[in-house]
Symmetry: C2
């Protein structure tokens, strides 16, 4: 038997059709489109590339976007002034502070300045706190775990009472993912580099979220036949047979796992496009909420 | 073999001797003692009793305390004004908003008003968010899970890589406990009412935190001989043989478990006194920090 393959590209495209409609409605009703502003204060080419991709995504669904390209030697004050001016601008609905920030910038202080209704990345500590707390809802949840939740829904998983293993405990994936799964009534185990019996933990898992950034790390025989596997890893490995000389692989040995498990997401084309789409979902939601509360 | 019994009363008393010294030093240096202010806006006798106990604890170590007894029909504005005035009072180092608040009060909004340096309960969503996030530290962690961490330290548990099972996911115990254990490098499983294979989860556990409020629920044969068990439950059960007609029991069947596990906390006399002591720890820490940053 072969697993069902969870196609993030296809799901993202379906969602983007709905998003384009909502953006068009917004623009028609309020006379200006939803807007996302990105703060890029780094000369890291990967960060610049991420921001360019996010802007291209925005354009596809009718969100306008702008990038504040700040010098990598910008001061804390300059970054904070930029964020404050975006908070104050009623035409800006979402603010994206591209991480990592340069070392002279206190990231915690900067992220905490983003106005909650515009925190479309969901990285403000108040939003993380509310994501964790029972009976509270953050204004926005981070894009990657939100994208994973959509893929789990697509897979038809009943999360209530399911054993979910989250591999990784980063602030942007593992931790918020674990909190979202607890809220969805899963029994959640958070595993990481210090975990001693990872294979035993994974063998019991109905849901596996792999987010540790180790290429092909999770072996097929660590997984069971009922498992739904979401692979967040995006690791570049050398591949002379590829014309670029490399290819992208996930944290799970896909070729072997696909023969064992019930469903698995692809890398690339799984979590990646869903993460990008969830940022658009959050931005359009932010625009509607702000316009309706104005 | 019999388990080591983790005596919260004894540990609390040892900590309180240190706390009394720190409070006396503070008073000598700054001319006024550390101060905790409680907001009690409920006519629930249990809440009033908790506040009285907390004030008695304060007195023992040299913290002065006061209670703002507000009418149970107080408005949101009145509660918020009380909190704001305590935020502004430089002689007040810790603010305790006794929960639950009456139904007409938006608890989330009220707790969010407490100034972070005075949030000795650690319930502000920013503090919960920072407790969850890697690389961030809350100004204060909630008292009950902090008390459990002290009991685990007392038991000599090496948490790194340990399998910890947290039973319960409340905002004041289960969730922050899970986050603190992840930060201590444990592999953490969060179990709750929807968990389907609780006995299997518990059998693998090196550390068990029971916090679900079900008397004697956890059976001895669900636990293994290496397990260190912290029982957060405080459940009143009828007992005609007791002169009061009732007694307090935990969430774990203590009499049977004590013959099986490596270490276990008592109920009463385990987590309870440690919770009360950690509030004092937080208050004295708050006082020193505020005085030194003034």
């Amino acid at each position: 038997m072969t697993a069902r393959i969870l196609d993030g590209n296809a799901l993202a495209q379906r969602l983007q059709i709905e998003l384009a409609e909502k953006a068009a409605q917004f623009t028609a009703q309020f006379g200006h489109p939803p807007k996302l502003s990105a703060v890029l204060a780094s000369d890291d080419p990967a960060s610049a590339q991420y921001v360019r991709m996010k802007r291209r995504d925005c354009k596809k669904v009718g969100i306008i976007s702008e990038t504040f390209e700040m010098d990598a030697s910008s001061t804390q004050e300059q970054v904070e002034e930029t964020i404050a001016s975006l908070n104050d601008d009623p035409r800006v609905h979402g603010i994206l502070v591209q991480l990592p920030l340069p070392p002279q910038i206190d990231e915690e202080r900067a992220l905490q300045l983003v106005a909650l209704p515009k925190d479309v990345d969901g990285f403000h500590p108040i939003n993380i706190g509310k994501l964790a707390m029972k009976g509270r809802e953050p204004s926005f949840a981070p894009a990657t775990p939100s994208g994973c939740m959509e893929l789990l829904k697509e897979a038809g998983v009943n999360l209530s009472g399911a054993n979910a293993v989250v591999l990784g405990r980063s602030n942007i994936v593992g931790l918020p993912m674990a909190m979202m799964l607890v809220k969805a009534n899963a029994t959640v185990t958070i595993c990481h580099s210090r975990t001693q019996d990872l294979t035993a933990q994974l063998r019991r898992a109905d849901v596996v979220i792999a987010a540790i950034g180790r290429p092909n790390f999770v072996q097929a025989d660590w997984l069971n036949e009922k498992a739904v596997v979401i692979d967040v890893g995006t690791n570049r490995i050398d591949d002379p047979s590829d014309k670029r000389g490399y290819r992208w692989v996930g944290d799970v040995d896909f070729e072997a796992a696909v023969k064992v498990v019930r469903a698995i997401s692809k890398v690339p084309g799984g979590v990646g496009p869903m993460t990008r789409t969830m940022l658009l979902v959050n931005t359009i939601r932010a625009a509607w909420r702000q316009a309706e509360n104005a």
